[in-house]
Every structure is written in structure tokens, then in C-alpha cells.
């Protein structure tokens, strides 16, 4: 008899690393596990000095990559409502309080930054990297990106092959001229009835 349900589901992949619901992050799967041919070398540095040692002729680029990662971290790092939730995921004294537009939240310190294409023409690829010292976290002693992608191996591993975020020729964008052009109907339509679920726009 043929079964009417999915044969198997990989439960390991269905478990979510962020058990404590960070405010602004989704969790993706292991990034470096894909087998795309166009993956490129990337390296994680825990200080600008490490990078400069590797690239004595490109110290400015090391600094620029670090600055980019810091700015990215401020914008895209996992965010938690409480210090406890953040430390539960990232470990004691690994979190800082940040205020933004009147909202206060906690985010982990950047543990390093991942760089590729440092010596090739074109944009440098740089992003903040985190790790966890918490015994409760699946990130413990592993590298993880701001959007929750966990790299294979433990933190002694600094070199990876990563897929570039842009896989095929995409339209170029030099800058974003405006944001917020979608989503206004939500505010307009969700102001009615408080007894009802007003959040979801699914049907």
C-alpha cells in the first residue's frame, strides 16, 4: 500500500538552533556544506592584526573589511530581549546592550570577521562572525554568521570554502534609493479589532 505521507523527514535539520527566539534572526542551515563549484576561499580573523600578518601589502583592506564587518554586526547581529536569553545562547559576558530607536536589546559581541576576495579586484566580501561559550548552545565552539549559519568544524578551523551570495549575474545595485514601499497595508488594516489575531497576513 502506498503511503499518503512524507516518507522521511530529517529531524536534525528541523531542530532550531535559536531555541530562545532572538528578535531579528532566522536560522539557516550549514552554509559550507553545499557543493557549488564556484565556492571561494574565505578566512576568519579574530583581529585586524591577524589579517595584516596574512596580507602585509593590504593592511588598508584588512581594516576596511573589519569596519564593514563591525557595521554589519551592529545592523544584523542576533538580537535578544534580555541579557539572560542572549547569554544562554552565547555565554556569560558575551553580550552587550544596545539601544536603537527607543528599543533596547542585547546582542553578542562580534568574535571575528570572515573575509574573502581580499586581493582580487571588485568588492571585498566581509561579514561578522560569532561564536558561543554557552554549554546550552549548539553554536558552542563553532563559528556562526549573523543569520545563524553554522560552519562545519570547531573554532580552530579558520579557513573555509564559501559560496558567494551572488551565484549568477544579477542586476547591479549601487545604492538603495528608498525602503518601506511594501508593508503599509499591514499597519492600515491591522488597527481594527483587538480580540482577533491581527498579526498574520496568511489566510
Amino acid at each position: 500500500m502506498t503511503r499518503k505521507r512524507s516518507k522521511t523527514i530529517d529531524l536534525r535539520k528541523m531542530r532550531k538552533a535559536f531555541a530562545l527566539k532572538p528578535l531579528a534572526v532566522g536560522v539557516a542551515a550549514i552554509m559550507a556544506s553545499g557543493c557549488a563549484d564556484d565556492r571561494q576561499d574565505a578566512k576568519i580573523y579574530t583581529s585586524v592584526e591577524d589579517c595584516k600578518t596574512d596580507f602585509p601589502d593590504a593592511v588598508e583592506k584588512c581594516e576596511a573589511a573589519y569596519e564593514t564587518a563591525l557595521q554589519e554586526s551592529a545592523r544584523t547581529s542576533p538580537r535578544f530581549n534580555s541579557e539572560h536569553d542572549c547569554e544562554y545562547e552565547f555565554g556569560p559576558n558575551q553580550c552587550q546592550q544596545v539601544s536603537n530607536n527607543g528599543h533596547s536589546f542585547f546582542m553578542p559581541f562580534m568574535a571575528g570577521y570572515m573575509v574573502s576576495r581580499l586581493l582580487t579586484p571588485g568588492p571585498i566580501y566581509s561579514q561578522p562572525i560569532y561564536t558561543s561559550y554557552s554549554p546550552y548552545s549548539s553554536f558552542r565552539s563553532r563559528w556562526v554568521t549573523a543569520d545563524g549559519q553554522v560552519f562545519n568544524g570547531d573554532i580552530r578551523n579558520r579557513k573555509y570554502k564559501v559560496s558567494p551570495s551572488v551565484y549568477k549575474p544579477k542586476p547591479t545595485v549601487t545604492r538603495t534609493v528608498s525602503r518601506g514601499g511594501f508593508g503599509s497595508s499591514v499597519r492600515a488594516k491591522s488597527s481594527w479589532g483587538s480580540s482577533s489575531r491581527s498579526g498574520s497576513w496568511g489566510g
Binding site: 499518503k4 535539520k13 545604492r175 534609493v177 514601499g181 498574520s200
Partner: protein, 387 residues
């Protein structure tokens, strides 16, 4: 079709935390309810739900073809004329669709009747495709349910396969996923689809709808200023077409899931059109546009706005007398009426079947029940088995 009480798994809430199912309780009310389940026979599933679902979907596709070639229907469906090209092209190109959910009235005996087609932004996907699947596996392992128990639920398998096909169709290895801020349920649904896309080998990036940007070259951008070229959105077309970035949609040339032609199917104007095209079809309820019929002067009808979600702005019309059943912000685009066909009652619960399609393939059901006769948005989700 039976409703059978069953002991809940002792650790299900702990597992929900572990798996990231955070919206099992919403607004202080239980949403996931495993204190009972529904049991169907295989014949009920295959003959009464699966086959009609496939057929209804084909009828809907025929309807799209009708609407798209007739300006009168496009007006009837309240599609802004500046977006007719967008929708027309997405249909001409046969832009692939991912999924839909048909809401059916079904009592186990009589033919299932289509209440509406959630063709654009259906939710309750995670709890259907994964969470009730896990419930069945575990309850069978614990011998709480008989070993031969099955479930009409190949959603996850089919979604992954569909993402493989869509990846090949557009020759992509990456997709963006988007939904609104401040809704854990929508974020959970989108995360589930990201999981499915990743299982299909796609890299996924998430951005909130409100954060989407417009680049200087006319394409949409994410927060890293990368172009959004292929995007799943849990956000209705009827909103997107009318918001300020709507005017950029055509030039931006984004491949959206669901594609723009789905805007025609998530629209309640579909119901009177289907009734006109397929009168007296056993799986349809009589339906008319409220402004061009006098049918509501006799019998019981449900009056719904052409655009609405979550059961808002619904009235009952009985022999011409209108009684409002729910409030809401919708209705400015007009109303349809649909013959009232009450939901079946099991142990004082009013039960609604959601029948899923992945592309054009029936892929499972979700069972929701409510204390009120017309399903509202605080309904409970119950698992089901085939036995």
C-alpha cells in the same frame, strides 16, 4: 470521519521549543490541540478530498485563463489596470507556483464544497507538513495509535521537490524569503519554507517586507543592498499591487512565489466566476456578486468581501436580512455572496478541512475546528490520521 480523543504526548511542548514551533499557543488560546484527532478512511481521503482538490485546481486554472483575457473580469477582480501586464506576463510565461490551500466543507459523507481558495498566502503549513507528521510518527511508536495509521500529508516531500524544480526553472541557487514584522506565525511559516528550500539545495536569505528596498537600477534590494531577484513572499498580492513599491514591480522583474497570476485565485471574485463556468458542480457552492443578484432574497447566504483574510467582514444574509458576523477593515472593493453550507459539527466543534496543493498536486490536509459556526482566526489545529 471521526473525532477521537487521545492522550497528548507528555513532552510535546518541550519538543515544540526544541523544533522552534513557537506559535502553538496564540493570544492566550491553544492553537495546536492534540487532545483529539480526526480519523478518515482512505476512500474518504482519496475520493472525497484528493480527487476533487486536483479537479478544483484545474478549474481554477481555467478561470485564470478566462479572467486574463477579459477586461471585464479583470475589473470585477479589482485588479488595478496598471498591473494587468504584470499578471498577464506571469501567466503567459507560466511562472511556477509553489502551493495553495483550498478550504473545504466536508462531513465524511457528502461531497466536499469549496469555501475559498487560499492561493496566495496560505498558512498553517508548518503544523501540517511537519508538526502533525511528527505527532503521528511518535504516537505510532508509543503504540497510542495503530501501526497501520497513515496521514494524508506529503507536503514536506513535495515542497522540497517543488523547490528543486523551481530552482531549475529559474536557474538559481539562492532565493530571498519575506514576511511582515511582528508575526511569529508568519515568520515560522516562512522559516519552514526556507528549511524546505535548503533541503532542495537552495541558499536562502530572509528579509522583512517592510525592509525591502528599491535600488537605483529599479530592482528590489535586501538590507545588504543585494538585488532580490527570486523571492518567496508571505504577503498578499492585493496589498503589494496597491502599495508605493507596486509601481516598481514590473520593471524590477523579480521572480515571485507565489507568481502574480495567483492574485486572481486568492480573490473571492473567483467563487462567482467558478459557479458561472461550472454551474452545479458537486464541489462548488452557488455564488454571485452581491451587486448583481437578487438570490439573497431567498435562503441563507454568506456575504464576504472580495478581499479579506481571517474571516473578517463576513455577514449572514437570510431571506434578504443581513446579520453581521464579524467586523473588519475590508469591503471597499465589493462583496460576493455564497450559499451557506454549515461546517459539520463534531463534539460541539465546527470543523473545516484545508486541502493542500503543491503546484497542481494534492499534498495533504489540515483540520481546524472552532467553537463558532463560521471559522474565525482563533481556531484550533488538530492532527488527523487515515485508518
Amino acid at each position: 470521519m471521526l473525532r477521537i480523543p487521545v492522550p497528548p504526548r507528555g513532552d510535546w511542548q518541550q519538543q515544540a521549543t526544541e523544533f522552534g514551533f513557537h506559535f502553538h499557543t496564540m493570544y492566550g488560546e491553544p492553537y495546536w490541540d492534540e487532545s483529539a484527532y480526526y480519523q478518515f478512511s482512505l476512500a474518504q481521503i482519496e475520493n472525497h478530498i484528493e480527487d476533487p482538490t486536483a479537479q478544483l485546481h484545474q478549474m481554477c486554472l481555467e478561470a485564470v485563463d478566462r479572467i486574463i483575457n477579459d477586461e471585464q473580469w479583470l475589473h470585477r477582480f479589482c485588479i488595478p489596470p496598471e498591473h494587468w501586464d504584470l499578471i498577464y506576463h506571469s501567466w503567459q510565461e507560466r511562472d511556477p507556483s509553489l502551493y495553495s490551500r483550498l478550504d473545504l466543507v466536508y462531513d465524511g459523507k457528502n461531497p466536499a464544497k469549496l469555501l475559498e481558495n487560499n492561493a496566495d498566502t496560505p498558512t498553517s503549513l508548518y503544523e501540517s507538513g511537519f508538526w502533525q507528521w511528527l505527532w503521528l510518527e511518535q504516537q505510532v511508536d508509543k503504540l497510542v495509535l495503530p501501526r497501520h495509521s497513515d496521514q494524508f500529508n506529503s507536503l514536506q516531500e513535495k515542497l522540497i521537490q517543488r523547490f528543486v524544480e523551481i530552482g531549475q526553472h529559474y536557474a538559481i541557487e539562492q532565493m530571498h524569503f519575506t514576511c511582515c514584522k511582528d508575526t511569529e506565525e508568519d515568520r515560522g511559516t516562512v522559516q519552514y519554507l526556507q528549511d524546505c528550500a535548503q533541503a532542495a539545495g537552495l541558499h536562502t536569505d530572509f528579509i522583512y517586507v517592510e525592509d525591502i528596498g528599491l535600488g537605483d537600477t529599479g530592482v528590489f534590494t535586501d538590507l545588504r543592498n543585494n538585488p532580490v531577484t527570486d523571492c518567496f513572499k508571505l504577503y498578499p498580492w492585493e496589498f503589494m499591487l496597491r502599495e508605493s513599491f507596486g509601481s516598481a514591480l514590473y520593471e524590477a522583474n523579480t521572480h515571485w512565489l507565489e507568481p502574480p497570476w495567483k492574485a486572481l485565485l486568492s480573490n473571492k471574485a473567483l467563487l462567482p466566476l467558478l459557479w458561472e463556468m461550472f454551474p452545479n458542480h458537486p464541489n462548488l457552492l452557488p455564488a454571485y456578486f452581491a451587486d448583481s443578484t437578487t438570490h439573497y432574497n431567498t435562503g441563507k447566504w454568506i456575504k464576504k468581501p472580495i478581499f479579506s483574510r481571517e474571516g473578517a467582514n463576513i455577514s449572514m444574509v437570510e431571506d434578504g436580512q443581513e446579520t453581521r458576523l464579524s467586523d473588519g477593515p475590508y469591503g471597499e472593493e465589493g462583496y460576493i455572496i455564497q450559499a451557506y453550507n454549515p461546517l459539520p459539527v463534531f463534539d460541539n466543534n465546527h470543523t473545516l478541512i484545508g486541502s493542500w496543493l503543491v503546484d497542481d498536486m494534492p499534498a495533504g490536509i489540515s483540520v481546524r475546528e472552532d467553537n463558532a459556526a463560521i471559522t474565525q482566526d482563533l481556531s484550533r489545529y488538530l492532527p488527523h490520521i487515515i485508518a
